[in-house]
Amino acid sequence: MSVLFSQRHLLDITSLTPDDIVSVLDLADSLKEVLRRPIPKVPTLRGKLVTNLFFEPSTRTRLSFEKAAKTLSADTFNFTARMSSVEKGETLLDTVLNLEAMGTDLFVIRHPKAGAPHFIAKHTKARVINAGDGFHAHPTQALLDMLTVRQKKGTLSGLKVAIIGDIRHSRVAHSNIVGFRKMGSEVYVSGPATMLPPEREALGARVCYRLEEALYGADVVMALRVQKERHGRPLFPSLREYAIYFGLNRQRLELAKEDCLLMHPGPINWGVELHPELQNDPRNVILEQVENGVAIRMALLVLLLGGGA
C-alpha cells in the first residue's frame, strides 16, 4: 500500500498537511472492510506493542484504540493513572521511559494538561498519538469526524460546519476547526458567550453570538458536551436555561440544510445539549462516528508503525 503520511507522530491537526489527512481517511475507508469481516483480525502489526496511557477518564477513545490495535494483532498495554506509580509521585517522563524500556512502539496518550503528548514526543523514541490533551487538541476525533462527513457528503470542501456548545473547553472543537478549515470548509461556532472565546477566530472559526447564524444553512451540525468538570467557577446559570437557549432540537435543526448531519463526540448529556427527540432522527450519525473511530485509529497505527512484518 503506498500512502503519503509525512508525520512521525500525530500530535495535533495543525501539523498535518491536507495530503496527510486524505491519506489517513483513504486508508481508514479501506480498513473499515476488515471490521465487517466475520473474523475481524489481520496480522499487520503482529509483534508491535501499543501502550494506552490514560490520565483522564475515557470510554470511547480508549476502547476504540484497543479495538483498533487488537484488530491489527498488536499487543496492548492499558495504563490508567489510578492504580499506578503516578500515585506514588512518579513523573510523566519516568512513566513513559519505563514503558518504553518494556518495548512500547507507540504511545496513545490522553492527558489533562495541554501539550503533554508534545512533551512525551520530545523524549521518546516510540511514536506518539494524542488522544486528547487538556482543552488543546483531539486529532483522532477530528479525523473520524472528517471521515464521517466525507462518507456522507462525498467531499470536505465548500461545506458549512456549525459547532455548538462549550467551545472554550473543547479540544474537539479546536481540532475540528483546524481540520475542516484545512480541507476548505467554513466553521461557525456558537454557544454561551462565557464559553465562546473570540480568539477562536485566530484558528479560522467564525464566532457567532446568535445560534441561528451558525445553524443557518449548515451541512454539518456538531453539538458539544458542557465540560463542567473544567469550569472552576460556574460559566452559565443553570442546565435548564442552557437547554432552552443553546440545546439542539428538531426546530432548531430546521435552520440547517435538510440533509444536514447531526454529530456529537460523546459522551452526550441528553436533555441538555441535545433534545431526546433527536435520538432516532435520520440526520443523527453519532454511532457511525463511533464505528469510524475504530477505522481511523487502525489507519493511524498502520501509518505510524509501518505495518511491515
Partner: protein, 424 residues
C-alpha cells in the same frame, strides 16, 4: 590599588558624558576622569574600542537563596550577574522562607558578604508571608538592609492593603515595587490570552488584567503621594496608563524585561517551557508598544526578572512547569541590539540599565562621578557569542535565547575597584 581604564568611550548619563576619556579608579572609588592620565603605579586596562559605563544594576532578580539552592544561590546568581556586566543586583523576597523579617534580610546580606561577586540589595516583602494581609516591619527591614519592598511573584490583592503599605512606606522612605496582576483574571492562565491561548489550548492571561492592576497602583500613588515602581510591564495597555500617569506628574516609575521587548507569545509555540513566564510573552503589538515606551521615557528601567529554575521544574508538562526565565547574562546584548537597530541610543541604554535603577532604589552607583564607588562595566559592543547552556554561569539554564547569536558582552566587571569578572 589603582586601575587606569585607558582610552575607552565613557558613557555616563548621570553627568551627560559620551566621550573618549581615561578613568582612574583608586581605593575603591572613582578618582579622576580625564585625557592622558598618568599610568604611574596603576594597573592599566586598554579600553580602546570599548565602552566604559557605570556598573550595570539589575533591580529585579531572584537569587533563590535561602530555600531553593538547587535552582540558584547568592554565589551562582551574582557570578552570572558579573558575567552579564552587572555590578549590583536587587533580589526579590519570594525565597523560602520569604524575606519578610529582618533575620532573613541579614542572612542574605551575610551570605552575600562572603560569597557574592557583586553587590546585593535585598528587597523585602510588603506583607507577611506575601499573603497580602498584614504589613511587614518596614522599619526593622530597612535597618537590616532592605532597600525596597515588594511581594513580587504575587500582587497585593486588596487595594486597601496596598494603600496602607504606601502610606506606611513614607515613614521609612522605602520604594514600593508592584507586581501588577489582577489574580481573578489571570488565575489558571498559562500564556498570553489571544493567539497563544487559542493555539495551544490553554487558559490565557489577558493583557487587561495587567492594565487593571497598574491602573489601581497609579490611583494609589495619587491617593498617597508615595512613589510606586511597576515591575515587568508587558502590555501596550499598561504602558499607556503609565505614560498618562507620568504626564500628570504622578510618582510612578516602571521597568520592563528584555524578553518582553525581544520576544512575542509565539516563542511559547510547541509548548516551550523556557518561554513560560509571568507576565506572559505578549503580542507583537504589545512588544512594539514596550519598545516605544523604552525610547520615549515611559519606561525607566530594563530589569531582567532573572528567574532560574532547574529541569525538575521546567522539563515537565507545560501547564505544570514553573513560570520564569533567566536573564542576567543576555540582558546587555539584547539591549545593545535595540541600540544597533536604532530603537534607543547608547546613552539611553545605560540610563535604563544603570542610572535609573540606582535612582529609583536610592542606592550608590549608577554614576562615574569622582568620589562614587568604583563600580564600572567595560563592554565590547562588537563581541560575538552564542548562548549555550554550558557557558551560562547561572545554575538555571532556562533561557529562551539558547542558540541565539549575540553581539556585545561585558569584558570587565569591576565592583568597588576590584575586577570581579573578566573575559580574555
Amino acid at each position: 590599588m589603582k586601575i587606569l581604564l585607558k582610552g575607552g568611550r565613557v558613557i555616563d548619563p548621570s553627568q551627560g558624558l559620551d566621550q573618549v576619556l581615561d578613568v582612574l579608579l583608586e581605593d575603591g572609588q572613582i578618582s579622576t576622569l580625564g585625557q592622558g592620565l598618568s599610568t604611574q603605579g596603576a594597573k592599566v586596562i586598554d579600553c580602546q574600542g570599548l565602552l566604559v559605563t557605570p556598573g550595570l544594576i539589575d533591580m529585579h532578580v531572584h537569587l533563590r537563596e535561602p530555600g531553593e539552592e538547587w535552582k540558584e544561590t547568592i554565589a551562582s546568581g551574582t557570578k552570572a550577574a558579573a558575567a552579564g556586566g552587572f555590578t549590583a543586583v536587587a533580589c526579590m523576597p519570594n525565597t523560602k522562607p520569604p524575606n519578610d523579617e529582618a533575620e532573613v534580610t541579614r542572612y542574605i546580606l551575610e551570605k552575600a558578604q562572603k560569597e557574592a561577586a557583586t553587590r546585593v540589595y535585598p528587597i523585602a516583602c510588603i506583607t507577611k508571608g506575601q499573603k497580602g494581609e498584614v504589613l511587614t516591619e518596614f522599619g526593622e527591614l530597612k535597618q537590616a538592609g532592605a532597600v525596597a519592598l515588594s511581594d513580587d511573584g504575587r500582587p497585593v490583592p486588596e487595594a486597601a492593603v496596598m494603600r496602607l503599605a504606601l502610606e506606611y512606606a513614607k515613614n521609612f522612605d522605602l520604594p514600593i515595587i508592584s507586581h501588577a496582576e489582577e489574580l481573578s483574571l489571570s488565575e489558571g492562565g498559562q500564556v498570553n490570552e489571544g493567539l497563544a491561548s487559542a493555539t495551544l489550548g490553554m487558559k490565557g492571561i489577558p493583557a487587561e488584567g495587567e492594565a487593571v492592576a497598574i491602573f489601581r497602583e497609579v490611583m494609589l500613588a495619587r491617593l498617597t503621594g508615595t512613589p510606586v515602581h511597576i515591575a515587568h510591564v508587558s502590555t501596550k495597555l499598561g504602558v499607556e496608563i503609565i505614560r498618562k500617569a507620568k504626564k500628570e506628574g504622578l510618582p510612578v516609575t516602571a521597568e520592563t524585561a528584555p524578553h518582553y521587548f525581544t520576544l512575542t507569545e509565539e516563542a511559547t509555540f510547541g509548548y516551550n517551557t523556557y518561554a513560560k513566564v509571568n507576565p506572559p510573552l505578549r503580542s507583537a503589538e504589545d512588544r512594539a508598544a514596550v519598545l516605544e515606551a523604552l525610547a520615549d521615557g515611559t519606561l525607566d528601567v530594563i530589569a531582567t526578572d532573572h528567574a532560574p529554575h532547574s529541569d525538575l521544574e521546567k522539563e515537565i508538562e507545560f501547564e505544570l512547569a514553573a513560570f520564569g526565565l533567566i536573564g542576567l547574562e543576555t540582558a546587555l546584548p539584547l539591549t545593545l541590539k535595540l541600540v544597533s537597530e536604532g530603537v534607543i541610543s547608547l546613552f539611553r541604554a545605560i540610563e535604563l540599565l544603570s542610572t535609573n535603577p540606582a535612582r529609583i532604589l536610592r542606592i550608590p552607583g549608577g554614576t562615574l562621578k569622582p568620589g562614587s564607588p568604583a563600580d564600572v562595566t567595560i563592554i565590547d559592543p562588537e563581541r560575538k557569542w552564542v548562548v549555550t547552556k554550558e557557558d551560562l554561569h547561572s545554575k538555571g539554564k532556562n533561557s529562551p535565547f539558547l542558540g541565539w547569536e549575540m553581539s556585545g558582552q561585558a569584558v570587565f566587571t569591576i565592583v568597588g575597584g576590584e575586577i570581579v569578572f573578566s573575559r580574555g
